[in-house]
Each structure stands twice: as structure tokens, then as C-alpha cells.
């Protein structure tokens, strides 16, 4: 029993230390609404207003949100028939502030509940009803102290800074992890801001054996380099543990391209060849002095625990324009990327390209906001296997999305 769930215990212990440190620092960090500020100057002719610790009403604390997407997709494949399909996605969520500091949130989504990488529902299934799942349910504590500490527990959005052009190479945006996360912001370190997130996600809990888990962390520095030129420097790290807990192959069963090995010769993979400790630095430069802001990004991926040579990935991209906060905004972008076979952990990597890993390719698109809350997004993804036994040829995926949020 003493060796059970060692990694989760480590992660939990680390988070506990982090939380304790925050609580110990609380007296020096906290300046709360219910504390009366002391007057510092006698020469002001008016008495200073005192803050009010009055909460918002229950209605004001409830914040619903929803979005809907219609997608037309056409795949141009080599050696297989082309495919086109129409898909929709509907997401309905809400957050509720229990107090000024504590928030609960949840979200309902369409899509196959067995597939965490997608919440889309393909149209054309004999008019069967759609599946609906709960892809977020979390509790967040954010006391509003000076360093803005946040603790989140439950199933929530992976909050790391990502490549702003196309940022799903390592972690698909639809994948909502389950676990704990702590975040802090500092603004007194000679840079505009330093954000640090650290957390532990449960990958697979098993009854009798130790669990599969991933420890995650990311420091992000944001710094204005000159007038109109902003930069962000993020270093993500993902350390996966015990992916076959007690010989359980369920995690291997959802592999989408990593190298695996069949130990017993039954034709079913038993283990990943590599372990995964993924370093993911991302740099983004934003120049917004012009009418249409320019963003340049670069990303590198290294799995330093890989047992094969194909352990790296990289991407470089460029965008021009503004995302659609207002009608008639537009954004054009392009990114080139290479992701080698064991550079990323394929079950949580993107599913937009035709391969989750072991590919090189381009993604390019145009977003146009034709109403304040309705956007058209036309994009193309072209890729070919990075390492292939036969000849590798480009395959295309063309998409038109109509996105609306309300």
C-alpha cells in the first residue's frame, strides 16, 4: 500500500506546499475589500470613501454563456476516397460566484462522450438524438490578493498559454483535464508580468493499482519590448507517469500515433515505447501599432524521456489582423509545423490534422467577423507523415466554420 499512487501523492504534496505557502504569505499579500484603508494625507478636503463589502446579487453572480458551431469539412485523401461531412457543436455553460472569491462552473457539450478531443456531432445518423456530456465541472478559489493566486479543482479548461496562431500541437483545446491547478501572477520582477501555473491531472484512476497521471507546469513572462511591441515567453512542461498502471492498457488503447509495443504478441499494443516528459517553449511577439496587428510565434517541443529518436517538434507562424471582438474584424494566419512521432502524447494532442503526431504540414486560414457575435472561419490543413514506410504524400483538410457565441 505504501507505493500506491506515488505520483499523485507527489503532485498533491507539491500543490499542498504551494497552497500553504500562499496562505502563509497571505497577511503580506492580502488587501481585502473589507479592510478600511488608512488615510495617508491630511491635505485632502474631502473624507475618503470607504469600500463596501457588499456582494453582487445572485443574478449578477450567475454568468451563463453558450456557443454554437456549424462546420463543413472536406478531406482530400491519397489512396482513399475523399470525404465530406457536416458537423455541429453546441456548448452551454455557466459560472456562479458563491462568494467574491469562490466560483463554480460547469459546461454541457454535444459530441461523442468517449472522445475527449472533439465535441462535434456529425450530422446524418438516422436522426438519432445527440449525445450530451459534461465537459467542465470545477471549483475555483481566487481571493483577489495582490499576486492574484488561483486554485482550481475539478474538470476544467487547460489554462496554459499556447501558441497564438495554432496552439493545439501538444494539448487539444477540447481536452478538459481533471485534477488540481494553482496559479500566481507577479508584477514586481522587472517584467510586466510573470504568471506561474502548476498542477496535477488524473489520466486514469484504477481501483487496485497506482494511477496514471500528468504533472504540469508553465511559467509565462510577458514583457513590452517597445512602444507597440509586446512579447510573451512561455515554458510548458508535462510529465506523464505510470501510463500502464498495473499492466492496465486502457491508456495505450487510446493511442493515436505514438510508438507502441506488443509485448505478448497478441496483436494488441501493451505499452508505449517512450515515456513522456514534454518541454514546450512558446514565444509570441505582437506588434499592434498598425491598423492590423501582426503576431509572430515560434514553438518548440521536446520529449526528453523519449526512447526513440523522433522526439521533437517545432512550429513557426504569423497572423495579421484582429480577432473578432467587433463586426468586420478579420484575421489571416499561417503556421508551419513538424511533430515527430513521440514528441507529443498523442491521446491529448490535436485532432485537426489528419494525424495527431508524426506529421509535417501547414495550416492557414481566414477569420471574418460578419456580425459582432457571428464569425466565419475558412481554413485549410495540409500534412504528410513525417516518417512513412511508403511514399508520403500531402493530404488536405478544408473547413468552413460558422461560429457564434451568445
Amino acid at each position: 500500500m505504501s507505493n500506491r499512487r506515488p505520483h499523485i501523492r507527489q503532485v498533491t504534496a507539491a500543490l499542498s506546499c504551494f497552497a500553504v505557502a500562499i496562505l502563509l504569505l497571505a497577511p503580506s499579500l492580502s488587501i481585502r475589500a473589507d479592510q478600511e484603508p488608512q488615510p495617508t494625507s491630511a491635505d485632502q478636503p474631502q473624507p475618503e470613501p470607504q469600500p463596501v463589502a457588499r456582494p453582487e446579487s445572485a443574478l449578477e453572480r450567475l454568468r451563463p454563456f453558450a456557443d454554437f458551431r456549424f462546420r463543413y469539412e472536406h478531406d482530400l485523401l491519397k489512396g482513399r476516397p475523399d470525404r465530406d461531412r457536416s458537423r455541429i457543436r453546441f456548448r452551454l455553460g455557466a459560472t456562479f460566484g458563491i462568494t467574491d472569491d469562490v466560483l463554480v462552473g460547469a459546461r454541457l457539450v454535444t459530441g461523442n462522450r468517449e472522445d475527449p478531443n472533439s465535441t462535434h456531432q456529425t450530422l446524418g445518423d438516422l436522426f438519432r438524438d445527440f449525445e450530451v456530456g459534461l465537459d467542465r465541472a470545477f471549483l475555483n478559489w481566487r481571493p483577489g490578493w495582490k499576486a492574484d493566486p488561483r486554485l482550481t479543482v475539478g474538470k476544467f479548461a487547460h489554462p496554459f498559454d499556447v501558441n497564438p496562431i495554432y496552439g493545439e500541437l501538444v494539448w487539444d483545446a477540447d481536452v478538459q483535464p481533471e485534477g488540481l491547478l494553482a496559479e500566481l501572477d507577479w508584477r514586481d520582477f522587472g517584467v510586466d508580468s510573470l504568471t506561474w501555473a502548476i498542477g496535477g491531472y488524473f489520466v486514469l484512476e484504477t481501483r487496485e493499482t497506482s494511477d496514471a497521471s500528468v504533472a504540469v507546469t508553465q511559467p509565462v513572462v510577458r514583457q513590452r519590448l517597445s512602444e507597440g511591441l509586446n512579447s510573451s515567453w512561455a515554458l510548458g512542461y508535462y510529465y506523464y507517469s505510470n501510463l500502464t498502471p498495473g499492466g492496465e492498457t486502457e491508456v495505450v488503447g487510446v493511442n493515436r500515433g505514438n510508438a507502441v509495443v506488443d509485448l505478448d504478441g497478441d496483436g494488441v499494443p501493451d505499452e508505449y515505447v517512450s515515456e513522456f516528459g514534454i518541454l514546450n517553449p512558446v514565444i509570441a511577439l505582437t506588434f499592434d501599432r498598425w491598423r492590423y496587428p501582426l503576431v509572430l510565434s515560434a514553438e518548440y517541443i521536446l520529449n526528453h524521456r523519449a526512447n526513440i529518436d523522433e522526439d521533437q517538434g517545432w512550429a513557426i507562424g504569423l497572423s495579421v489582423g484582429r480577432p473578432g471582438s467587433e463586426a468586420r474584424n478579420w484575421l489571416a494566419y499561417y503556421q508551419w509545423q513538424v511533430v515527430q512521432r513521440d514528441a507529443v502524447f498523442s491521446p491529448v494532442a490535436q485532432d485537426d490534422f489528419l494525424q495527431a503526431t508524426n506529421y509535417r504540414g501547414h495550416v492557414s486560414g481566414l477569420r471574418y467577423q460578419f456580425l459582432k457575435r457571428v464569425e466565419a472561419h475558412l481554413w485549410a490543413l495540409v500534412s504528410r507523415p513525417d516518417q512513412a514506410t511508403g511514399g508520403a504524400e500531402d493530404e488536405w483538410r478544408l473547413r468552413l466554420d460558422i461560429n457564434t457565441r451568445f
Binding site: 488587501i31 481585502r32 475589500a33 484603508p37 488608512q38 488615510p39 495617508t40 494625507s41 491635505d43 485632502q44 478636503p45 474631502q46 475618503e48 470613501p49 470607504q50 469600500p51 463596501v52 457588499r54 453582487e56 449578477e60 453572480r61 454568468r63 454563456f65 456557443d67 458551431r69 457543436r89 456548448r91 455553460g93 459560472t95 456562479f96 460566484g97 466560483l103 462552473g105 465535441t119 475555483n140 481566487r142 483577489g144 490578493w145 495582490k146 492574484d148 479548461a157 489554462p159 499556447v162 497564438p164 496552439g167 483545446a173 477540447d174 510586466d192 513590452r224 507597440g228 509586446n230 499592434d288 480577432p323 473578432g324 471582438s325 464569425e375 472561419h377 466554420d401 461560429n403 457565441r405
Partner: protein
Amino acid sequence: MAPADPRIVTRKKHLMRIAGILLCLGAYVALPGPTALAQHSKRPELRYVGSSTVGLFLRDAEPVYDRVRFVIDTAPESAGGERAILEASTDLAGIARAPQPETLRAGIVATAIGRDGIAVIINSRIPVTNLTLGELSRIFTGQVRSWREVGGPDLPVRPHIVGTDSATRDVFRAAVLGAAGYAGCKTVEPDAKMLQLVAATDGAIGQISFSFLDDTEGVRAISVDGEAPTTTNFDYPISRPLYLLWREENEQARNFARWARDLEGQRVVMRRFVGFRVVGSVRGKPTRPETGTLLVYTETSPVLDGGIYYYPHRSYEILTREGQLIRRVVNHRGRNDENPTAVHLLPGTYLIRAESQRRKNVEFFATVEVGETTQVYVEELIGETLE
């Protein structure tokens, strides 16, 4: 005559020596040291000519703004200051009204630094707390003889008005009397005497710049049209703009004018005047009794959530006017929340420090009033008010 007791003479000499030493010590402590004097004299000189009201601001600013040494001449008042800057015989001019069009056409830069309110003051034995502009007009045109006619006791009304050389006289007439002229008023010169005269005269009413209000006993400033005479009330109806005039090529003057519009300068302005960077409230739905609501539409920060951008507002801080942090407002509840957080506050003026990607931080004052919602759009402030 008997000779003085030598013991008494010695004691007196001794006491005088001690007093002399103490005097020297006091002077050493109280007077600026040679280093401070040398530093003060090393500062470049900035000559000011113009309004005595704006001159008060310069005198307040002198200990805070240490990049220049002011040479202040307020005798020529606003008109003389405007002439002096046109003739380039001063670095900086101050006027307590809008600049003449020909001044601006000549390339002179006008920087508004705040508004000077003209307070209505009454003898404190009269239990009246508010008068409308219409009532004031009838009082200063001689149509009201007794305080009873405007809700006060049966006492004769004794209106006082500042002299013809004072800009306060014209501003008050323009705001209160319109085209009519003063009638039945006693003239008071100079302005500063108004406080003592109103305090000493039963039934007296007068007016004076906010900048001259002090703790004089027997006199009280009253509200006009329900607006309190405070340096944070941008809606107070009897007021005039205060401007600094300078030439573009004068770097010292330009730096000072910009400082006056910046937070540190505005804190000095608001000791006596209504600050320029105060955002007033708008009529909104009633919130809670005794509180007002603050809604700050800070810049948004796009969050890509499953391929769809959401735009939560950036966080901001609420501080006291002196800059002491009261509360940090995250300004969104979760990454998908696009509505700013409503903060219920007691009425007053707060310093707001909002995050801005373009300018790092944007700072301004916001006034919260009972039962009203103060809505602030930070991007509009950046574009229209604070530039």
C-alpha cells in the same frame, strides 16, 4: 542707582547664550541646508504669468514637482498671461477661462488641468443647505428680500459680489444670471475678504472660488441645484475651466503641463479644484440604497476556447484617491465571461488603475454616486480623454 547683582547678570548672559544656541539650532533645522539651496537654485527657471487661481496650483505643485524653479507673477491675471505667452515673454501662462481663438491659432498649446468651482457661501446662522440657480438669480438681481422666500428664516438677504476686476464675478454672472445684471449687491474687494464679510454679516450670501475656501468660522458653502460644492463633483454647475498655455518648443513647460494632467499633478489639482481626470456617473437603474455601482469596461483579452474567441475583460484595481489599494477586481467570472463585474461602493471618488496592453496601465478617477451606475469604457478614455 544700585549696581546690578553680578550673579543675576551672569545668569542673564547664560540664558541668552542658551537662547542663542537654541535659535541657531532651530534655524539650522528649519531652514534649507546649503545643499538643498544649491540644488534648488540649480533647477532651470520656469516663468509663469497669469491667473492667480492657476497660480495657487503652481504654488501647491512647487514642493512636489522638483524639476524646475517657478517664478510666479499673478498680478496680470488671465488676460495678462494670455498676452505674455503670445509675446513669448513667459514660459507658461495660466488662464481661468477658455483660451481666445487667436491664441490657439498662433500655435499656443492649451492644456486643461481642471475646473475651478465658484462656491456659494452664506452666513452659517442661516439654515439653508441648497439653492437652485433660479433662486440665486433672483437673489443677486435684487428680487428676493427675505430668506423666507427661499425656505429660510425671516431675515433680510444681503447679497455680496466680488469686484469688477475679478474673473469670478463674470463667471458667476454667466452661470447664474444669464443676461441680467447684478442689483442690490454689496461689492467686496479683494476676493479673499468675502469669507470674513459673509461670516460677520447676518443674512449675508456671497461667492468665492473653491480654492479660497478654508475653515473660517461663521460661513458655510451650500449646494447648488442639489450638487455639492466639492472638488470631486464634476457636475457642480458654477465652474470655469483652468488652462495652462505654453509653446510647443518649450520643453520645460511641456513637461510640466503633461505632469499636471498626469496622476501626480491631478492629485495636486484636486486639493483645490475639480480634477480633470474624473469620470462622472451616468443615470442607470437604481441599485441599492446608500451605494452606487461601478462598471469598468477594461480592455478585453481574447481567449481561444475550442476555436471560438471569447473576450473577458482585464482586471483592474480600485484605490483611494491617494493611491492606497482597496480592491483588485478580476472583472470576469471564468474565461468565457464577457461582462464586467459590478462593484457596489459607497459614494465617492476612487482612483482606478486598469490593465492595458497598449499602455501597460491606465489610471483615472471615477466618481460613484448613490443609486447610480458609473460606467467607464477604458478604451474610450485612452482615445479621447487621457491622450
